[in-house]
């Protein structure tokens, strides 16, 4: 009978006889609805390829490391659970001690691009994505001619207009866009070297673009090198989308009303871009729930290209 005293005794004897071997993770899952006797909290279980050639199912512990297929795991003798009659069930849990190197291979040679109107949440999503994917993604630095602002979160590199033009002439800069506003004329651009540097380190470059930057990147790197996600504000009609953007821009409180109106004009143009250039987008993602949206984009990015 399962979990009777003699059964537990036999199992403990077996555990003592077998040498504990480390292994690699073949697959893993999180059990959200545990069976009877395993409590009500979710836990992770993996199928592990042990170094002695056998395979085993076991619970995973992972302080700090996220389990990935191919991750290195080592056995730890742990109490799996306590039975209603007070007996302990002991066994091996496997601790994830190193993330899989293979993941990097899948993400080489492509760029994750996020495009969307002002106020849709590009910056927030990028920030959450870079922390979610911190082990394998980097945001590509943006060159801009505008003046630095306080508390800037984007990785801007500030250059003069002359320097910017030189970078375009020398073909270092592969994509750029310019935004006219009443106050100043601003240019933004990306350089090939930065992207290649990230590729060389086996990581995934992440860019935030508008339609001009996206076009430029797609022409110079090749359309297939870009995993392009368009971000849409929630709302069933265009009017609702714009009104949602307006609301977000206002509660963000970063701009004056005049600037907001200006941004909104650009946003309308950006929304049109989705319809005008459907071939430039692999996925359109609606940012209605931030976490779900980030999770969604993260999942799109790490699947084998």
């Amino acid at each position: 009978m399962p979990n009777s005293a003699p059964e537990l005794h036999r199992r403990l004897k077996k555990i003592k006889e077998q040498p504990a071997t480390p292994g690699t993770l073949l697959s893993f899952t999180t059990i959200h609805n545990p069976p009877h006797g395993f409590g009500s909290e979710p836990y992770s279980v993996g199928l592990i390829q042990l170094e002695d050639g056998s395979r085993v199912h076991a619970q995973l512990t992972h302080d700090g490391y996220i389990p990935t297929i191919g991750a290195h795991v080592v056995p730890r003798l742990r109490r799996i659970r306590t039975l209603e009659n007070g007996l302990f069930v002991n066994g091996y849990k496997y601790e994830v001690v190193e993330t899989a190197p293979e993941v990097k291979l899948h993400i080489q040679q492509y760029v994750l691009a996020l495009t969307g109107p002002s106020g849709v949440g590009k910056t927030t999503i990028t920030r959450m994505l870079t922390s979610l994917m911190s082990s394998y993604a980097d945001q590509v630095p943006i060159y801009t001619t505008r003046q630095p602002k306080k508390n800037e979160v984007e990785p801007y590199t500030y250059v003069t207009k002359q320097e910017f033009d030189r970078m375009i002439e020398s073909k270092k800069m592969i994509a750029y866009t310019h935004m006219e506003s009443n106050s100043e004329e601003r240019y933004y651009g990306y350089c090939r070297d930065d992207i290649e540097k990230i590729w060389k380190s086996g990581r995934l470059p992440l860019v935030v673009t508008d339609i001009h930057l996206l076009k430029g990147l797609s022409e110079s790197l090749g359309r297939r090198a870009i995993l392009s996600c368009g971000l849409l504000p929630p709302g069933k009609s265009r009017r609702r989308m714009i009104s949602n953007l307006l609301h977000r821009l206002r509660i963000r409180g970063r701009d004056t009303e005049a600037q907001i109106q200006e941004r909104l004009k650009v946003a309308t143009y950006d929304l049109d871009a989705f319809d005008a250039h459907p071939h430039l987008f692999d996925h359109l993602v609606v940012n209605d729930k931030l976490e779900a949206c980030v999770e969604h984009i993260g999942a799109l990015a790490v699947r084998p290209a």
């Binding site: 697959s27 899952t29 959200h32 069976p35 199912h57 297929i69 799996i80 799109l300 084998p304």
Partner: protein, 378 residues
């Protein structure tokens, strides 16, 4: 087949949460319906085979063979077979063997299960008996958990997307709308499936077949009828995934299906419709690949391209399958035969036009048992 075996008729109860009915009530309802539809007398039944998995654990009722037989006036010989979720399919296989050997002329085959009386964690534990208690159960794995491991690996190996995976359940729900016996007569769009509650990553609630009550019964006979069973095959594999070499292919399905095609002398392309064991969305994809309808990694194609409906390239689960019609474990394999019978006699609510040949694919556990039946219009 050593002897020609025919389906005389059959019946099923509605599938779902049937709190007013006990295991015995369900069996009685299906048996009465089957006898009536087949036009034989109860006393014509020479043997009874019943497929059931957790009657002992959840209803406190074993010895089901004699229990059913006791309800017939002449108490014919009876036996219960168990092969986890393939109990129904293996019951049909057993009945075929009795008919082929000449032990019987008419066999009553029943599949029945009562699951919804017990709390969910107990049901989960009881179903987990289909795994290997030493290798799987000790780790706290559940069936959704094991298929979660498979789905995670499959997505990693073949780049299957969440949205594509959701097309499987969406198609089965769409088919169930017309089936009066289905547990969920409701179409559900892909994005709702993708956003349903997580059960065992990457599988979500609407990737999983439900916990259901229900029973189905059929009468098999050596006397001719419109529908013949042309092949009945069962194959097995290691119970635990940890003892196998592949995580994304079931050997039992491959073996049973190949043997069945050989037995019937069919080609794969002869099949007009199929009832497929979609206990989890990912499973349906694996099965299509294992039976050679799609290349490795391409199984989702039929669902993604919307080709599984009655007029599609490959009609799958016109009943709604396990996902939408419901999955009373032992009943499923018998219900599949009944659905094929309805298709072949032009009586299905979701009728495939000119359906002459049908396939019933039923697995137990993580495909440790696979029962394949090929049926054709005689």
């Amino acid at each position: 087949m050593r002897e020609q075996v025919f389906v005389l008729g059959g019946a099923q109860t509605s599938f779902g949460e049937l709190w007013n009915k006990s295991l015995v009530d369900l069996i009685d309802e299906a048996v009465a319906g089957a006898i009536e539809s087949s036009g034989i007398l109860p006393t014509d039944i020479d043997a009874v085979v019943i497929g059931n998995m957790v009657g002992g654990e959840l209803s406190g009722q074993g010895h089901l063979g004699a229990l059913v037989s006791g309800g017939l006036p002449h108490h014919p010989p009876a036996l219960r077979v168990e092969a986890a979720c393939a109990s129904g399919g293996v019951a049909v296989h057993t009945a075929c063997a009795l008919l082929e050997s000449g032990k019987a002329e008419n066999v009553l085959v029943i599949g029945a299960e009562k699951l919804t009386d017990a709390p969910n964690d107990l049901v989960t534990s009881a179903i987990m008996n289909a795994g290997n208690s030493d290798r799987d159960t000790v780790a706290g794995l559940t069936f959704p958990g094991i298929f979660g491991l498979i789905a995670n690996r499959y997505m990693y190996d073949y780049g299957l997307t969440r949205d594509d995976l959701s097309s499987v359940s969406a198609a089965h729900h769409e088919a169930a709308v017309k089936n009066p016996y289905a547990q969920f007569k409701k179409s559900i769009p892909r994005d709702v499936i993708s956003k349903s509650a997580p059960v065992a990553d990457p599988l979500r609630l609407l990737d999983c077949s439900p916990i259901s009550d229900g029973a189905a019964a059929i009468i098999l006979s050596t006397n001719p009828s419109d529908v013949q069973i042309s092949a009945s095959q069962v194959a097995t594999d290691h119970v635990s995934l940890a003892d196998r070499t592949s995580m994304t292919s079931f050997l039992s399905t491959r073996t049973a299906f190949q043997n069945a095609l050989k037995e019937a002398g069919w080609n794969r392309n002869d099949i007009d419709c199929m009832e497929l064991h979609d206990c989890f969305s990912i499973a349906a994809i694996l099965h299509l690949e294992d039976m050679g309808f799609a290349e490795e990694g391409q199984g989702v194609r039929f669902y993604k391209n919307n080709q599984t409906h009655a007029n599609g390239e490959l009609p799958i689960n016109m009943s709604g399958g396990l996902k939408a019609c419901g999955h009373p474990i032992g009943a499923t394999g018998v219900k599949q035969i009944l659905d094929c019978y309805k298709q072949l006699t032009n009586r299905a609510p979701n009728q495939v036009p000119n359906c002459r040949r049908a396939l019933a694919h039923n697995i137990g556990g993580i495909g440790a048992t696979c029962a394949i039946h090929l049926l054709e219009h005689a």
